[in-house]
Amino acid sequence: MTTHLKRLLRHTPIVLAMAFLLGSSRPAHAGCMIAFADCAVRAAAETSYWRSGFATADCELELADCVRRALIGR
């Protein structure tokens, strides 16, 4: 795997986080997006691609939990 490709893969979570933030504007779960972006940045700082990928998956679960509490928690 080339160095360029490795670098690109390492930045995938950040790109995903930006896509989340830029693509969403619903105030009910806006705070969830900010928390997710923070989480994704931490995930991207992991020491390997796979660790980064697993951490990003956990970030997505945290996002799902946050969104459901905001929208259907009572």
Binding site: L16, A19, F20, L22, G23, S24, R26, A28, H29, C32, M33, F36, E60, L61, L63, A64, D65, V67, R68, R69, L71, I72, G73, R74
Partner: protein
């Protein structure tokens, strides 16, 4: 065990046909993450691990702390099956069975992360990840089964511009059913789909066209009172951008035709129980309110 004494405070005649009784009991105020209706009562579960039972029809209230959870458990959902067992999600990957005494009795590892769980007859109704656009979103399975699930009618994954919105767009909530029929709805929709697991029909509500209804969550809650009665709790955003809650209770027939409506003061968090002639609500102040008519 704090007993609930239902007191007829006043016959607030906001709806003409509907009458209100409010209890003096105060329930925990933390976020309700699950509700399950069993034959003897309704269970509510809060994010702070309060397990609340409101019995039918006496309205006796018991609050206990759920025991046996692990440090990182973060509860979501509640389901009561026909055998009386109570289930919830301790994490997206772990299903738990809760004993009636409020202790976790069993942990079941899930193959896929689960974002929602409800009860339907002897099966769990759930949403698993990943969410797939245009594919069945909800499925049912017996609690300990591995891979033997059945798709639930009508709910297909909806597309979204961003992945975060994919989760929000596909969140489904379910109300209180009657027999095998269970009403469920997308969180942002103004209609419910009532299904028995095989067939389904859609019910729309004209009352949800009102301007004060919160667009992101117009249906705050819904219960089937019986064969031909629905109790719809319509949402409204609080003043000055405050929290959303159920501001109006609308009684309709099975086709969604309005029979009576009542502006709720205080507003309601959730429906606890319903029959053809009565609907019991938990108010934002923590009291139980019984609406009859």
């Amino acid at each position: 065990m704090p007993a609930l004494v239902v007191i007829a405070l006043s016959m607030a005649g906001a709806a003409g046909q509907l009458r209100v009784h409010t209890s003096s009991t105060r329930m925990p105020s933390s976020l309700i993450v699950g509700r399950a209706v069993c034959s003897h009562g309704t269970w509510l579960l809060t994010e702070h691990r309060d397990l609340i039972l409101v019995t039918h029809p006496a309205r006796q209230v018991t609050v206990q702390r759920l025991e046996g959870l692990r440090t990182n458990d973060r509860l979501w959902g509640l389901a009561c099956l026909t055998d009386g067992t109570l289930w919830s999600l301790a994490t997206p990957r772990v299903l738990i069975r809760i004993g009636a005494e409020g202790v976790v009795r069993e942990r079941v590892e899930l193959r896929f992360p689960r974002v929602a769980v409800f009860g339907w007859t002897d099966r769990l109704l759930f949403i698993d990840l990943p969410l797939l656009v245009a594919k069945p979103l909800l499925a049912t399975a017996i609690p300990r089964s591995r891979g033997e699930s059945m798709p639930w009618p009508r709910f297909l994954g909806r597309a979204a511009e961003a992945r975060a919105d994919l989760i929000a767009r596909n969140l489904v909530n379910c109300g209180i059913g009657s027999g095998r029929r269970l009403p469920c709805w997308f969180a942002d929709e103004r209609r419910v789909i009532v299904s028995d697991g095989t067939s389904a029909n859609t019910v729309s509500f004209a009352a949800l066209a009102a301007r004060d209804v919160a667009a992101a969550t117009p249906i705050w809650d819904l219960a089937m009172g019986g064969a031909d009665t629905l109790w719809l709790l319509a949402s409204a955003r609080g003043t000055a951008g405050g929290a959303v809650s159920g501001a109006r209770l609308i009684k309709t027939d099975g086709r969604g035709t309005e029979l009576a409506t009542l502006v709720l003061l205080p507003s309601a968090r959730i429906i606890v129980a319903a029959t053809d002639t009565a609907c019991v609500l938990l108010t934002v102040e923590g009291s139980l309110m019984e609406v009859t008519g």
